[in-house]
């Protein structure tokens, strides 16, 4: 399919209609378009965008961005290959769009906690990442707050505890789970309302791991923020570091050498493979099938060890830098992984055959935890879990970065939307990633792996397809330092899918459904 460079702009002009003059639309550094909107035209415009099937993929706030208003809200809409950012200056109060665009619910609560912006007409005004122990009126992302440890109260009165939605009725009882779970898992709270054994309603509460990543990035030099980007979520280190570095490079107009992009792509795909393998192994552990789980666990450990040999880090950390890579991987080393990958592919097929020919596995996997296609756009569900429910979206093909335009893997779509479909999509993606790495190795260019980093002031939006889906990041550099680093991982949006996927399922299937969605707590809580 040929890609016309004017296409995204045409899509946007068609969306916003003739009421808004074309020259108000300004192109960003990374293919996105910014449109400053007046308060009077905001409501009708958002209604139009929602009715024209645009997805709200991000909503975040920055301070001192627009002249004449203290705060600016950025609404990022996606339609096919086009990315439109509505720039809306506000003071403390803004109208809510959550009733129209459900994905805005958490975004708005996040802006409210961080900056103290009240959303008029919001149906959920509970706090999000600031839990009960934080005092009222505390908004850490305001510039007037200088980052420093704070002392909070050590206990919470029962009447001040977080109000979960109450589900009443004959025979309905509640099962509270977490934040500390039974396995080696991250913390989060799940409140089930159950009838008999069936889940009637689930409400999730996250952000127990909120570490303040975005505030920590403020005032740091762009290079100092890379380790923070890697720490957003351990098994998405490469994806988040790439998204961040891409943004900084686009702002400065840096051209990253080809060899660096080839190697970055190999690292990105290796990360996808080890994440998917861990996820598939976890699904099999949760249904009590260690024979299959260990097949994948061994392969994953082999990849971790190869990662350490290639880069010095089992999680491929410390490789991605602004302008390329921190060090080269020699052609001899690259040559040596070819037989390893071939062998890995063979062994993966053996494991997959064991799993998919076991009836008890299929019985648990299908039709469990179905996510309806109609949920995808409203909640902005992305990644393999969306592709298992009929989505054809993938950042690598919709908004290709680096060399993905030339080396785009096939988009694997299934339609059942259950655990089995998600397992199968991930299996195909592992095979595709292995193929892609082999193709990259076969055509690896020589040359430098980095250019001297250039830092310019400006802002850019950057999207990367991590193993979990669409990772969004927006970087604003002022006076050579990072003024705002906004990161929204795929998990932030995908988490809400679980509330829908478990309805009508039995409680013992919850761990399996949870694992099949492969959600990162750290990447959500930040």
């Amino acid at each position: 399919m040929g890609r016309d460079s004017a296409m995204p702009q045409e899509i946007i002009l068609d969306l916003i209609g003739s009421s808004i003059k074309e020259d108000r639309l300004s192109p960003g550094c990374n293919g996105e378009y910014y449109l400053p909107v007046e308060e009077t035209e905001f409501g009708p415009l958002v209604t139009t965008l929602a009715s024209r099937k645009c997805a709200l993929i991000g909503l975040f706030c920055a301070e001192n961005f627009s002249a004449g208003a203290r705060f600016t809200l950025f609404y990022v809409f996606e339609k096919k290959t086009a990315l439109l950012v509505l720039v809306r200056p506000v003071d403390r109060v803004a109208t809510s769009v959550a009733r129209l665009l459900p994905s805005a619910t958490w975004f708005e609560r996040e802006c409210r906690d961080g900056f103290g912006i009240e959303f008029d007409g919001a149906f959920d005004e509970r706090r999000l990442f600031l839990h009960e122990t934080y005092p009222e009126g505390f908004h850490p992302l305001e510039k007037t707050f200088r980052n420093a440890p704070v002392t909070l109260k050590e206990s919470v009165n029962p009447e001040d505890e977080y109000p979960f939605r109450k589900v009443n009725g004959e025979g309905v009882y509640q099962v509270p789970v977490g934040p500390v779970h039974a396995g080696i898992i991250e913390p989060g709270h799940f409140r089930f309302s159950v009838i008999g054994e069936k889940i009637f309603n689930l409400e999730i509460r996250m952000f127990y791991k909120h570490r303040g990543i975005e505030k920590l990035a403020e005032g740091k030099t762009p290079a100092e923020v890379i380790p923070l980007a890697e720490a957003v979520s351990g098994d998405e280190s490469v994806a988040n570091a790439t998204a961040y570095c891409c943004a900084v490079e686009k702002i400065a107009g840096t051209v990253v050498p080809d060899r660096a992009w080839y190697l970055r792509t190999i690292l990105l795909e290796l990360e996808r493979i080890h994440s998917h393998l861990g996820d598939q192994g976890g699904m099999l552990v949760d249904i009590g099938f260690p024979l299959g789980a260990n097949q994948f666990a061994v392969l994953r450990e082999d990849i971790f060890r190869m990662n350490a040999t290639l880069t010095g880090s089992r999680f491929l950390r410390g490789m991605i830098t602004i302008g390329g890579l921190s060090h080269d991987i020699s052609n001899e080393q690259l040559e040596s992984i070819k037989p390893f990958l071939r062998e890995l592919k063979k062994r993966y097929r053996v494991g997959l055959k064991i799993v998919l020919s076991t009836t008890s596995v299929l019985d648990r996997f299908s039709p469990t935890g179905v996510i309806k296609k109609s949920l995808l756009r409203p909640l902005n569900l992305t990644g393999p879990i969306a592709r298992a429910s009929g989505s054809r979206g993938d950042v690598r093909s919709n908004h290709p970065y680096g060399i993905y335009e030339t080396f785009c893997p096939a988009i694997r779509t299934l339609y059942d939307g259950d655990v089995l479909a998600r397992f199968t999509v991930k299996a195909s993606e592992i095979m595709d990633s292995l193929d892609l790495i082999e193709r990259l190795l076969a055509s690896m260019p020589d040359g430098a792996v980095s250019t001297p980093p250039v830092i310019r002031d400006g802002y850019a939006l950057s999207l990367v397809e991590s193993a979990r889906g669409q990772d969004l990041c927006w970087v604003w550099i002022r006076n050579g330092v990072v003024d705002r680093y906004k990161v929204r991982t795929a998990s932030f949006c995908n988490w809400l899918a679980i509330e829908h996927a478990v309805q009508g399922e039995i409680v013992p299937d919850f761990p399996l459904i949870n694992k099949s969605l492969n959600l990162s707590y750290a990447g959500t809580d930040l």
């Binding site: 850490p140 080696i184 898992i185 913390p187 127990y208 791991k209 303040g212 098994d235 994953r300 971790f304």
Partner: protein, 170 residues
């Protein structure tokens, strides 16, 4: 009619376990001895994530994969703090996890050990100084051993546990 003698003499259907990593085997044997002597044949560990980036959890989970399979050395990861001899803390302690972390520790029977795994759990690491964290695990719990790393590898975690057992045995 089954011939009992031929059953005994025929080749066994099970084969020897593949040794995947010699270094781990050596360390494992020593851990096994220490656990037998100090912890009464088994060491029950409860993992507590107080704000990690999930890489340390992945490495702790890897300890159960066939390369390491630490259960054969006497180490088990248990579901409840009430069954645990040792608490492994990962990640800096966030404000939002502080209450749950204290409750988890209090629920453990004495005597108990606390091990911090990863840079963030040891000192606060990369997120030290943030409004949202209290600092390393030692800000709220008595830490007996720190295993630094970003994250530490499974072998480093095993070496750290072994060092703690040597200390505990004295």
């Amino acid at each position: 009619m089954v011939n009992a003698l031929s059953c005994l003499l025929k080749p066994k259907v099970t084969s020897d376990t593949v040794v995947r990593d010699e270094e781990v085997e050596m360390m494992g044997k020593e851990i096994r001895c220490r656990i037998d002597a100090v912890f009464g044949h088994s060491l029950a560990i409860r993992e507590l994530d107080t704000g990690s980036d999930n890489a340390a959890e992945i490495e702790l989970n890897n300890l159960s994969n066939p390369y390491y399979d630490v259960e054969r050395f006497g180490i088990t990861f248990v579901a409840s703090p009430r069954h645990a001899d040792m608490l492994i803390v990962t990640g800096a302690v966030t404000q939002n996890m502080a209450i749950a972390a204290r409750k988890t520790y209090d629920a453990m029977p004495s005597p108990k050990y606390v091990v911090a795994v990863g840079d963030d759990a040891c000192t606060g690491g990369i997120v030290a100084g943030s409004y949202a964290v209290l600092g390393g695990a030692d800000k709220i719990l008595p830490v007996d051993m720190k295993i630094p790393g970003n994250p530490p590898t499974p072998k480093e975690i095993l070496a750290g546990l072994l060092a703690l057992m040597k200390k505990a045995g004295r």
